[in-house]
Symmetry: C2
Subunit: 223 residues, 2 copies
Amino acid sequence: MRDFDIDRIDGGAGVDAGKAVVITDGVAVPGFVMSFARNSEVYGEEEAAGFVYRVVSGVVRTVHMLSDGRRQVAAFHYAGEVFGLEAGELHRLCAEAVTDCRIAVVHRAALDRAAREDGAAARELWALAVRDLQRLQDHLLLLSRKGAVERVAGFLAEMVERTHAEDGVDLPMSRSDIADYLGLTIETVSRSFTQLERDGVIGLSGARRVALRNRDALADCAA
Amino acid sequence: MRDFDIDRIDGGAGVDAGKAVVITDGVAVPGFVMSFARNSEVYGEEEAAGFVYRVVSGVVRTVHMLSDGRRQVAAFHYAGEVFGLEAGELHRLCAEAVTDCRIAVVHRAALDRAAREDGAAARELWALAVRDLQRLQDHLLLLSRKGAVERVAGFLAEMVERTHAEDGVDLPMSRSDIADYLGLTIETVSRSFTQLERDGVIGLSGARRVALRNRDALADCAA
DNA sequence: CGTCCCCTTGAGTTATTTCAACACTCGTGG
DNA sequence: CCACGAGTGTTGAAATAACTCAAGGGGACG
């Protein structure tokens, strides 16, 4: 199955040493942009980690599968975010397109070289890794000590913050993705949404559009 | 309360620009070593993150507290491990001594300088951060999708691996620490230990000494 | 010897999961 | 245009895993 396309970035003015792709504000290295269809795989678990990725448009999830079918969504990545940066030689998670996506791809070696030659670039990459670390720590707290409604409220609060939403959020991911992100079942996620709606915290217009009725109450529910 | 002591490291040969403290194999910067009593605080939540720490001896835990008293142990740190490395200006967790500890302390600024001047040092620090990230990802999986016995077995497996234990492990931390690390109650942790013992996976000689009866079975239980 | 702290065990309760049924949306094809 | 089916989300009822509350055991230390 070929569910992606290489979509060479148009060079623009003055880019010659390969097509330049921006990875963070201060880091641009040769690379290209690819399109991925909804639910297609960007890279697989245990695959060689030769590339690093940045979401140009769309949303990506990183996923862990257990042998018995239990699934865990480790993170969602929005436009502008970098993923696939690994310590070892292999990807420890698999990455999939939640929506149709355009994704910038660069050689890891090129990024390593940029980091070695440019201190500022190295620090930006460092900052990226540490931000991931802190998101993960927050998520850990959510998973270890919070109830179902708190988790869902926390998830919504995170999405509101990350998309800089004012009056409502679109959720591109399915209930199943949310459940596997929060360590719940889809039924429990669904019930928590309904409860938040009953409590006047949110409004639902279709499963994937959430209106913010009371942001303070949402923050409270997230505890 | 003064529950720590500054224990100047003896300079050794040729160290002159301040006492040198090793942070990782390739990174040594000026610093000092302090002693902390069991259960004393190394640094507090929301405190300025001006220092970085390395465990010389003993075990340290990093902890998150929720307003309503719920507690989460984010990680345990053994001898040789670095903690307290933050992205922002403040510590997001608090660090406490699980046992009496000796801890090497360096100025964060000194470490930043070392990283800026020495590419190899920067890469070692990067590796540290990424290793933390991966531990955290594994822990996330454990918390989101595993049952009580699986969590406890996973915890034991982690401790066995990290202490390079052959026939058994000493657990310096209390049941309460383990519970807050695994997102369970002390009662459930206790029951899970008993069940692993009944199933012939481990042996218990006192609450804090675990004998490995069947490593394969332990790995199975951890799933 | 007694006290304190930590750990274990039991019994009843609660939150979440499981299983099952049904509703809605969206293409496709008659 | 409507019928159909697949995919996705909601809801209810029963089952279960973990939690809470309560009591008791055992070691360390004064």
